[in-house]
């Protein structure tokens, strides 16, 4: 019993210390942001890496999520003869919940792991030490552009996921099962307000900061071995996923 309590106390202390270190790291990144924006070329390159290279997976998943949503929504709504509101319901679900959350989970799996493993490998192969020896701060030169790239890319990917998802709902609802197109789009336009879109974009931005921060932190602080880099990559996915779902609950509760 005492040993369990001691282990719990030790874990709690470790977690608090890690939490503090992550926030200090975030503070450092925020302080470096103005200088990083002067070197826009590096940031744009990372937006391409984190954003453009994730487009295929985001669009593919968005399409299938939308189509499943269309099928399930139609099945449910047709029981109460309310198929016309399929567009409205699906659009709200995608804009406020599914879009930001699914995009963040996919982003953590694709771009987050790439960021963590790339930075971790740079540490393991002494590239970061070499930069320090050349009087170049690796946080400014390597971490900062990648963090900003993720932060900018995530809301854009969220918007694309939502748009493709709605297209998927329309494919099933209008093209396949025959809901009237005019009613489908009109219901959607009347139901979805600017606040709903803002909520989705705010969530996308918050998840973008969280997932990018976790990825660069884990990569930068990874143990410089093959096992260490692998562990950092795994931790990136696990922590990002849990953080996304936790933040989603907090944001949803706050924005209701």
């Amino acid at each position: 019993m005492i040993s369990v309590a001691r282990d719990l106390w030790f874990s709690a202390r470790q977690s608090t210390a890690t939490f503090g270190r992550v926030f200090l790291f975030l503070g450092q990144l925020v302080a470096y942001t103005p200088a990083a924006l002067w070197r826009l070329r590096l940031v744009v390159h990372q937006i391409y890496n984190a954003g453009a290279l994730s487009l295929v997976i985001i669009m593919t998943c968005g399409l299938f999520v939308g189509m499943v949503l269309g099928l399930l929504g139609y099945d449910l709504l047709s029981r109460v003869a309310s198929e016309e509101i399929l567009g409205a319901g699906a659009a709200l679900a995608l804009t406020k919940q599914l879009g930001p959350v699914m995009t963040a989970l996919l982003f953590a799996g694709r771009a987050g792991t790439a960021l963590a493993s790339e930075i971790g490998l740079m540490r393991a192969t002494d590239q970061l030490s070499a930069m320090q020896m050349m009087a170049v701060d690796p946080v400014r030169r390597v971490v900062m552009p990648r963090f900003l790239g993720g932060v900018v890319a995530m809301p854009c990917l969220t918007a694309i996921f939502i748009a493709v998802g709605i297209f998927g709902v329309q494919l099933v609802g209008v093209e396949q099962v025959g809901i009237d197109a005019g009613s489908f789009w009109a219901q959607m336009r009347s139901a979805v307000e600017l606040d709903d879109i803002s909520e989705g974009m705010v969530k996308g931005s918050v998840f973008g900061v969280a997932c990018s921060l976790i990825a660069v932190y884990e990569g930068y602080n990874s143990v410089p071995t093959a096992e260490g880099v692998g562990r950092a990559t795994t931790r990136t996915v696990v922590i990002s996923s849990v953080a996304t779902l936790l933040l989603n609950f907090i944001l949803t509760a706050y924005m209701l």
């Binding site: 590239q127 009087a135 701060d137």
Partner: protein, 299 residues
């Protein structure tokens, strides 16, 4: 020395101010009473070393004696537990972060594996410090980079990427990158490890040439006694946390100390034991060990 160095000089006030008084000093690096511990294992216990300007100083010693750790301490990538390290008249412990970075701009370091940036090609790797620290026009950067690549014989490999290079080529590119800012100090960490005889000869010749042609101070960490003997002006042999012998390579060869003779003649056993400290062999073989529990207890 060239446009790069003149441009860089403007951005390093700390380096210049400390260096003036040190210009009279013959030693560029002075290490005094240095203590450093990793976990519970003491790596250095009272280390004293002087490295003279314009010379090639070799730091030798068996594996695990802390040669690379010493380089990391000398560049303040890590901090010692006790003792002072003075580089060009500046006590590293007293320098601010900006001061350390200013000092590092005057150092070049060749890492054991080259440590080339894998997302950049050879040309961009060598140009990296120039792009980060100077505002030189592209034409001049190209001129400097090609000059340095020519010096290491790899001008023709400028467009190759690091993964296409052999170990020897990667180290030569790293050397070109290390000298691109015309440093005062050039540090080599195990420059001969894993090289074929031709590449090894090339690197040896380059170290000597760079030192003589550029008038820099070179510090070479290695355990390749024969190779170092051909280029080093003075050598230090490290063991058990301190310097056990120093002098020219010839003086080290003539040294009668058991530990020096073991190292210089490559004997497997001696004062530096072949076996890492362990419990009695037969007892350990007959005991049912719980390695996980022992490791946890030791932590």
């Amino acid at each position: 020395m060239n446009a790069a160095s003149s441009s860089v000089g403007a951005g390093q006030p700390d380096a210049g101010s400390g260096g003036e008084s040190a210009q009279k000093s013959e030693n560029l690096v002075e290490i005094r009473d240095l203590y450093y511990t990793v976990g519970r294992r003491p790596v250095f216990s009272g280390l004293n070393i002087d490295m003279r300007r314009g010379r090639i100083t070799a730091i030798m010693g068996p594996s695990g004696t802390g040669k690379t750790t010493l380089l990391r301490l000398m560049t303040r990538q890590i901090e010692p537990d006790r003792g002072t390290i003075v580089v060009d008249g500046q006590d590293l412990a007293q320098l601010s972060r900006a001061g350390i970075y200013a000092l590092r701009r005057r150092m070049g370091m060749l890492f054991q594996n080259g440590a080339l940036l894998t997302d950049l090609d050879v040309f961009e790797n060598v140009a990296f410090p120039l792009r980060e620290h100077t505002d030189l026009p592209e034409r001049l950067i190209r001129h400097i980079v090609l000059t340095k690549l020519h010096a290491v014989g790899l001008r023709g490999a400028a467009e190759m990427i690091p993964s296409e290079l052999s170990g020897g080529m990667a180290r030569r590119v790293a050397l070109a990158r290390a000298i691109v800012m015309d440093p005062d100090i050039l540090i080599y960490d195990e420059p001969f490890a894993g090289l074929d005889p031709i590449s090894l000869g090339v690197i040896l010749r380059l170290i000597r040439q760079m030192n003589d042609a550029l008038g820099i101070t070179s510090i070479v960490v290695s355990h390749d006694v024969q190779e170092l003997a051909t280029i080093a002006d003075e050598s230090y042999l490290l063991a058990e946390g301190h310097v056990v012998a120093s002098g020219s390579p010839a003086e080290l060869h003539a040294n009668k100390s058991d530990i020096v003779r073991q190292f210089m003649n490559g004997m497997a056993d001696g004062p530096v034991p072949f076996h890492f400290p362990a419990p009695d062999y037969s007892v350990q073989l007959l005991t049912r060990g719980d390695r996980r529990r022992r490791r946890r207890d030791s932590q």
